[in-house]
């Protein structure tokens, strides 16, 4: 997990006046499961297409294993793609679909037959050789698309929202399936999705993107627990994002009340954003909390109750396994290490979050 297998340097891309990617730098290590995560229009798919060779960057280079491959067409690149909506060849059988890349490479028939069997077994669709893509369900087609890509033994598999068209249950099954596949094959996955849960479940590394900029790169835990800015915090999971002032190291003033925290080096009296995850808020007796509030909404969510607590003019989102009826006066308590301090964004761009999914 050390060498840079793919290295994107200073990539920029625009369509007409529309800037999609702006001076993007990103590297992907060997055998990594890296996810590009972001709302639609953030540039994640374009990034993938530039890696795959379907788009040319306006500026910057793509290196593969140390070599500049910016000018290679897709068929000369040692990577394969699993497309959104599968892009199976409808005029061919399943076996012909899977064999396509191998035939192009001129492999022997026996080898191809072997590979088809192996690939179908891998995706749990043994015996489907002679079916046509039209006769398969969405999930099955998805697996065939994966099988078609992996028989070519690519060093990197690019997946463009591969689970987007599947229903929830199937999507969850396929997530496990993909992790299993990656472990069995031992190749690098670059995965594009707008679904944060998918990203957090499967990835080694998550790259959160918005408006053509990388917002944060890190492990799923980092991204979730320590979002670097309000966009990431808001995009990943539920959170309370509140304007605050960093009074001094390890002390922050939220809505006029001072909270102890663990962050340092923000200077004194600096305006910041504070992120507090709903499950990190403890509801205690009014007098025991840092701030006092009233429960205004209550919903049962299965694993926990979701509540809103009005305190100091802000609706705090709270997840708790303990039921507190609406109208109850409560105190809010947050452990210092659960308060995440973030710098205010420098530009408007970074702040704008487009949630249309």
């Amino acid at each position: 997990m050390s060498t840079k297998l793919i290295d994107l340097q200073h990539i920029s891309k625009s369509y007409g006046d529309n800037l999609i990617l702006d001076d993007m730098n990103l590297y992907i290590r060997e055998n990594e499961f890296l996810t590009l995560l972001g709302p639609s229009g953030c540039g994640k798919t374009t990034t993938l297409r530039i890696i795959g060779g379907f788009e040319k960057a306006d500026r910057g280079i793509v290196c593969f294993d140390g070599q500049d491959i910016s000018h290679l067409p897709p068929n000369k690149r040692q990577l394969n793609t699993v497309f959104q909506k599968y892009a199976l060849f409808t005029h061919m059988t399943i076996a012909q679909n899977i064999a396509f890349g191998l035939k192009i490479k001129g492999k022997s028939k026996a080898y191809i037959d072997d590979k088809i069997k192996y690939a179908l077994k891998l995706v749990n669709l043994d015996g489907y050789e002679n079916r046509t893509p039209d006769s398969l369900s969405g999930g099955q087609q998805q697996r065939i698309a994966i099988a078609r890509a992996i028989v070519n033994e690519p060093k990197v598999l690019l997946l463009d929202e591969p689970l987007g068209a599947l229903d929830l249950k199937l999507r969850q099954d396929m997530q496990y399936e993909l992790i299993r596949l990656k472990n069995e094959l031992g190749i690098t996955f670059i995965y594009v999705t707008h679904d944060q849960e998918e990203a957090l479940t499967m990835s080694d590394t998550v790259v959160v993107m918005n408006q053509g900029y990388i917002q944060q790169i890190g492990t799923p835990e980092d991204i979730y627990n320590e979002p670097e800015n309000a966009f990431v915090a808001d995009f990943i999971g539920d959170s309370n994002i509140i304007d605050a002032i960093m009074v001094q190291d390890e002390l922050v003033e939220i809505l006029g009340t001072r909270f102890a925290c663990v962050d340092i080096d923000f200077g004194t009296n600096t305006p910041v954003d504070v992120v507090i995850r709903p499950e990190d808020i403890e509801l205690v007796a009014p007098e025991k909390g840092t701030i006092e509030g009233v429960v205004t909404h209550l919903i049962f969510k299965g694993v926990h109750y979701e509540m809103e607590v009005l305190a100091n003019g802000f609706e705090w989102l709270v997840h708790s396994t303990i039921l507190v009826p609406v109208g109850t006066k409560v105190g809010i308590h947050v452990d210092p290490f659960n308060i995440q301090i973030m710098n205010k964004p420098e530009s408007e761009d970074e702040e704008v979050a487009v949630f249309d999914e």
Partner: protein, 271 residues
Amino acid sequence: MNKKKLWLSGPYLFWAVCFIIIPLCMVIYYGITDKTGAFTLENVLSVSTPEHMKALGLSLLLSLISTILCLIFAYPLASILAGMNKNQHSFIVLIFILPMWMNFLLRTLAWQTLLEKTGVINNILTFFHLPSLEIINTPYAIVLGMVYNFLPFMVLPIYNALCKIDKNVINAARDLGANGIQTFFRIILPLSLPGVISGISMVFIPALTTFVISNILGGGKILLIGNVIEQEFTQASNWHVGSGLSLVLMVFILISMVVSAILDKDGEGSL
């Protein structure tokens, strides 16, 4: 509900029986009877006379060449059009239908003006001291007329078929290692085949049966099977032979219908 819907097909079925099936039966009747109304195969068999065979052979040859030329011209054109800015699509497609609003006979006649020995093209050629083009009243002119008149019928179905292809399918083929040519022959061409098939039948059949184009551009020197049939009906007033020969033509049409039915399984020879 379904029963009610089936009932809706009544008007059309009635229409189809009245104006498609019955007339067809009448042609068949005329084709297999003589002037006294007695059954005979002579009319159909008259196709085997050398004159008729020659006309039929020439028709088949010329329409085949025209179809192939149309395909050669239309495919790249359709694929260029399909790759163009989506907003311009409708306009560009209409540009190919637009000439049809100028009368078919006038358009063909205009080619005569263009191609004649002292016509526009030759005047231009002479001006540049180039050798003149002498194809009027030859089979070449007829082929030109056919290609000209039927090209849109080849372009549009292919264009529609190409537009239906998901771009990612092409990307997928490239991704799996196919170069441009391989992608074309293994993916694009097979996927656009229904369009090609319907284009072929929409060019080949009218070309096979035309008599106007050969009349105007062939200078009456070239007798196609369409001319023979037309003359049997309008000049020799021998409807029986005319119908008999029409039946022979219908066999070719039937063959091409069966072929396209087999190749275009969806039955959506789209326009």
